[in-house]
């Protein structure tokens, strides 16, 4: 693998995103983000003169299939680097494989934190990079009574646990909590929404993912509720989901994310232009797509220096490295292997884009175990230092 540089043999990497099933709505965009980056790199001559060759499988939104395909990639295809996974259940299915065979999973999705594997580079946000600030903004703007709705799996349960802690410590309360099954049907969301309407919270905090997101916001609109008074706030509802539910349905709702398509900088404009040229003018970008895109570039930049796909060498080289991502400058945190990312809070507008409500002055250090932030939101400035 390490060998000479005078070969034109491609660098083979694995790509695992669901392009079918109830998670395809977002994972398809991560798939595209990954391929866009690879195509760009290859068009510019590859890495040290060798192209990157993606080997892609579609696990069909089924967590155990992620584990099986990870094994197939590493054992049959001889791949050691894998880009993939959206849900925490799928990441946890891949984890034993990359840990035992010493592979490297690049995970471009926000998640609930409280994990550290030497075989994963995490490029999505952890709670200190989204939940903490989101909670503060929501309480200041809308009120202190929250209602939790989530898909029933690890990420929503753990995120809600953290959110509950933040709310309680700042004098707010959680007035209700409901979970729907992964891949729940449209009809299951109306009764939940009616329950919310009865409870009259100030904010609905949603950790529903996949197709369920669309049904949830549509059920909200159907009941004629007003996002100006009682918005749905989310860490996962991106431009992709807003487009799928309809711009009018999404308008006025809140999302915390390191990246929105609408952030104004030259790097992002180029990225968006390039992406839309490839996939269509009306195709929005989103935070998961952006993370998928920049992590491939971080990988390529690292590979250029190491000239080796060996996990130990790649990992030790990528730790602490900086990269200019569309969201701004990011760093792969040398302690945790989680990316230091920007914190942004946006409100969806009629064009299916997000207007910025809050933006951190620089990237926020990742703190997956929430060690550094204070108990109440007043101490939040600590994590920015």
């Amino acid at each position: 693998m390490t060998r000479s540089s005078n070969t034109s043999e491609p660098w083979r990497v694995g790509v695992l995103f669901s392009r079918s099933g109830f998670m395809a709505v977002i994972e398809e965009t991560q798939f595209r983000g990954t391929l866009t980056a690879i195509e760009e790199i290859n068009a510019a001559g590859g890495v040290n003169g060798r192209p990157i060759e993606p080997i892609c499988y579609d696990p069909g939104s089924e967590a155990s299939a992620f584990g099986r395909y990870a094994k197939k990639l590493m054992v049959e295809d001889g791949v050691s680097t894998i880009f993939g996974c959206y849900t925490s259940s799928s990441r946890k299915a891949v984890l034993p494989v990359v840990e035992r065979l010493n592979g490297l999973l690049w995970y471009p999705t926000l998640y609930e934190g409280f994990e550290f594997s030497p075989n994963v580079i995490y490029t999505g946000a952890t709670p200190n990079q989204n939940s903490v600030e989101l909670c503060r903004v929501l309480m200041q703007t809308y009120g202190t009574r929250f209602y939790f709705i989530g898909s029933d799996y690890i990420y929503p349960r753990e995120s809600n646990r953290i959110m509950r802690e933040l709310i309680r410590n700042s004098g707010g309360s959680v007035v209700g909590e409901s979970y729907v099954n992964m891949g729940a049907k449209r009809a299951e969301f109306l009764p939940v929404m009616r329950e919310v309407k009865r409870a009259q919270p100030d904010v609905i905090f949603s950790t529903v993912v996949g197709d369920g997101t669309v049904y949830l916001y549509q059920a909200y609109a159907e009941l004629g509720l007003n996002p100006k008074m009682m918005p749905i706030a989310s860490l996962t509802t991106t431009e992709a989901e807003i487009r799928a539910m309809g711009h009018d349905v999404g308008e006025g709702h809140i999302t915390a994310a390191p990246y929105f398509q609408g952030i104004g900088n030259e790097r992002n404009s180029t990225f968006v232009r390039h992406y839309q040229k490839r996939y269509g003018e009306d195709e929005p970008t989103n935070m998961c797509l952006e993370a998928s895109y920049f992590q491939v570039n971080v990988f390529a930049k690292t590979l250029e220096q190491t000239g080796s796909m060996d996990t130990e060498i790649l990992r030790s080289s990528v730790m602490g490295s900086e990269f200019e991502a569309p969201q701004g400058d990011v760093v792969i945190n040398p302690i945790w292997g989680h990316a230091d990312l920007w914190t942004r809070i946006g409100r969806a507008n009629r064009q299916g884009q997000f207007d910025l409500v809050y933006e951190s002055p620089s990237c926020v250090r990742s703190d997956p175990y929430l060690l550094g932030y204070g108990r109440s939101l007043r101490q939040r400035s600590l994590e920015l230092t």
């Binding site: 094994k71 494989v97 035992r100 065979l101 646990r161 802690e165 309680r168 309360s173 175990y369 929430l370």
Partner: protein
Amino acid sequence: MQETVDMRNGRDKIGQAGAPRRDGGVFTQSSSSSATKSLWDLKVAVIVDRDDDGERLVRELQRLRCQVHHEWPIPPQIPVHYDAVFCTLSADLPQRLPWIPGEPGAALVVIDRGDSPLDLKLLHNCAAHGVLHYPTTTRSVQAVLSLARSHFLYERRLRGRIDKLDESLRTMRSVERAKSLLMRVKNITEEEAYNYLRRQAMERRVTIGAVASAIVDSYDLLS
């Protein structure tokens, strides 16, 4: 072809099998230590050709008082529900394993027949716990089974420990929060609050984390 060989038949053959070899039964017999005993009654699947080496392997395992299940040729999927699996190394063995690497269902010993170049990548991909080279000896079978078994168990213990640590990190937060709630509501010291949690956990026979979560949750509902 499949057959399960009763271990007692095997033990009758101890004399004939071990006698000609210097490293034979003589030494093993003398040491029926607890380490040897820990191999007794292990359910072992043996997936080898029943040639001389295969026969010898089965006999050695029976001599160790394992419950041996023999199978040949290699089935499309290696059987589950065994404590250990001895399987001839083949290029597609990783695909035939019913588990994903990192979550093995049994201690795996791959058998290198020595008739082709050793493929280290293949060995890595099998994530085996041991390798047995032909021709086998009493010592090598005993050593590889014992080590493979202990590696397998050690790995499992470590995984369990990590799961517990992850869980503890999360529950520690609940315990901290429950403690500060109790201190405020009941107007007691930190130590008293902790003792209260511990007492409740012992009385209800649940973890301290469960008590803490219950307190935190119910406080949320009350307020």
